[in-house]
């Protein structure tokens, strides 16, 4: 589909806007809120961009689409992107959408799990082949078996021993509604903490650095405002695009993003909206290399170039 999903009416009498497409990873939801905020507030337009947001879904294959040039930007985790780059898919991380990934594991309070170590021998519903499982097994010296993730929750509800991969901003809300008492562990808590980022293709970034910079600046502005300002208009769009996104749920999700400082990170540690710490990313690449999921060795420079971040968020050259 190429109908504009969420473009504000074009302001008259200015120089023509550059059309670009942002492909999200799922149907419209608060985890995409900052982009919608930037659209409705006209932040993209202010920097000369006409951004169309295309919703994702279970099979949106955003990495391939971006690499093929079918869309200019998409969002995902740095570990995914590192794996893609390792397989010869030329992608370029631009800026962080979330400092901490909302992915977590969810289990019942009655399930007798206190930490990752307790998962030994358990069955976990997760995406087969996911890197974090291998890391977890290695790090804690445990062994788990994997049931493919089916996006459903009924099996969790039916089985008090069930453990399931989830978004901390999502699933716990629904199972709690049904009377379960879910507990969660953020995956980042086990020392594996990929960024959630927006990315583009290397070719696009090389050819259009100004556009990438403009998009990034406007997106950060949108996100900052979405998390801490008035997000009513963005939420209205999200609700209209995905009827499942009722206000209570959005409130819950945004609340979780705030509570766990997913977007803003911890200012005490020098984290900020959009910021990427090259050292942390490099550390992540080392972890991934250690478990052998990268096809070819991936260096930091292969996936990330700080030049597209706003001035203030770029790492000091000295620090490198």
């Amino acid at each position: 589909g190429d109908k504009p999903a969420a473009t504000a009416p074009a302001a008259a009498g200015e120089k023509p806007l550059t059309k670009i497409v942002l492909q999200t990873d799922w149907y419209a939801q608060p985890e995409h809120g900052g982009f919608y905020q930037a659209v409705v507030k006209g932040y993209y337009k202010e920097v000369g961009l006409d951004v169309q947001i295309v919703q994702g879904g279970p099979n949106a294959i955003p990495t391939q689409k971006v690499a093929m040039g079918a869309t200019q930007f998409s969002i995902g985790r740095t570990d995914e992107i590192a794996i893609a780059v390792g397989r010869g898919i030329p992608l370029q991380v631009v800026a962080a959408l979330m400092q901490r990934d909302p992915q977590a594991i969810m289990f019942h309070e009655e399930g007798g799990i206190g930490g990752f170590k307790d998962l030994d021998g358990r069955n976990i519903m997760a995406v087969p082949g996911a890197g974090w499982i291998m890391l977890m097994e290695k790090k804690f010296g445990i062994k788990v078996s994997v049931t493919p993730l089916d996006f459903g929750l009924s099996r969790f509800m039916a089985d008090k021993k069930f453990v399931q991969q989830c978004f901390i901003t999502n699933e716990p809300y629904y199972v709690r509604q049904q009377g379960a008492k879910p507990k969660t562990l953020l995956l980042s808590d086990m020392g594996f903490s990929p960024y959630r980022v927006w990315y583009t293709s290397r070719a696009y970034a090389a050819k259009n650095p100004e556009i990438v910079r403009a998009f990034t600046a406007a997106s950060i502005r949108g996100w900052t405002e979405y998390i801490s300002g008035d997000r009513a208009e963005a939420d209205k769009i999200i609700g209209s695009l995905n009827k499942q996104m009722v206000p209570e749920f959005i409130a819950y999700s945004v609340g979780a993003m705030r509570e766990f400082k997913l977007v803003t990170g911890d200012p005490a540690k020098g984290e900020a909206v959009g910021k990427i710490d090259p050292a942390r990313l490099e550390d992540e690449l080392r972890q991934l290399a250690a478990i052998g999921v990268l096809g070819q060795p991936v260096k930091l420079a292969d996936i990330f170039d700080p030049q597209f971040l706003p001035e203030g968020l770029r790492p000091a050259k000295a620090a490198q």
Binding site: G1, D2, K3, A5, Y27, A28, V54, Q55, G57, P58, N59, A60, I61, Q64, K65, M68, A70, D150, F151, G152, L153, S154, M157, A158, N170, E171, Y174, V175, Q177, Q178, S240, L241, N242, K243, Q244
Partner: protein, 262 residues
């Protein structure tokens, strides 16, 4: 006459009631919670509550299912005709059609999405992939099962290959073709739902039934989830009803499957 008409409705209605009773009994007996298996009543209630989104989702899916169904039936039929045309063509291509059929659609879906884009075209392609083989397999079998005596008649008529196909093989294969079509009909809504799942796009907030399925599934709205199944069934029945009507139209005057005593 009237009473057999009535019976034709009564029979399945009685079974239906019995099955619903059984459903309630099993649910109660095994203490199956609603979030695993809702009762028929809960499903009906959910279907009613969600009628708005379900209806607009159904419209989206019906479109994909219809187009995919027609693609599956017509391409399948043409393919079978080509295969039936000569044993040579059959030997050359049948294995590859089998490969296409046996390739899990999940693997091909990304290729479709990239080539055709997310949304209707890909959904139609996936529906097609799921439904075309039963048509091909049945029609091909029908083509090769032609009465050998009639084949000799056509030889005596100096019929061209094309005439033989048109006047002998196609009518003779009709019962088989229609059976394949019936199977394709039951698969079309499923195909469109899977397609929605694998390649759908919820433009303007209106996704198909597959989208609703994921949504309800991931939100633990199990009765509504089963209601999407209900909608899928209703769609399937419309397809099968259409094929049955065609079956009757084409065969009632001559085929053994359709003759009543006298």
């Amino acid at each position: 006459m009237k009473s057999t008409r009535l019976m034709a409705w009564l029979q399945p209605a009685i079974t239906g009631l019995a099955l619903i009773g059984l459903w309630y009994a099993v649910k109660a007996g095994f203490k199956i919670p609603t979030f695993v298996l809702p009762s028929p009543g809960e499903i009906a209630q959910a279907a009613w509550d969600e009628r708005g989104p379900l209806l607009s989702a159904a419209m989206v899916t019906v479109r994909g299912a219809l187009l995919g169904f027609f693609a599956a039936v017509s391409v399948g039929f043409l393919l079978a005709m080509a295969l039936g045309f000569s044993p040579r063509i059959k030997a050359s291509f049948y294995p590859y059609i089998l490969i296409l059929q046996m390739m899990p659609v999940t693997i091909l879906a990304p290729v479709f999405v990239l080539w055709l884009g997310q949304g209707l075209p890909s959904i139609v392609a996936i529906t097609f992939m799921i439904g075309f083989f039963p048509v091909v397999a049945n029609t091909t079998m029908g083509f090769v099962s032609v009465d050998r005596n009639l084949r000799e008649l056509f030889l005596m008529c100096k019929a061209t290959r094309a005439q033989e196909v048109r006047y002998l093989r196609i009518p003779g294969a009709m019962p088989y073709f229609l059976t394949g079509m019936k199977i394709a009909g039951t698969l079309a809504p499923i195909g469109a739902i899977v397609g929605d799942f694998l390649a759908g796009s919820a433009e303007n907030g209106v996704g198909g039934i597959g989208f609703m399925t994921i949504a309800y599934f991931s939100q633990l709205k199990t009765p509504a989830l089963f209601a999407t199944g209900l909608v899928a069934c209703v769609m399937g029945f419309l397809f099968v009803g259409g094929v049955n009507w065609l079956h009757w139209r084409l065969l009632h005057s001559w085929h053994d499957s359709m003759v009543k005593k006298e």
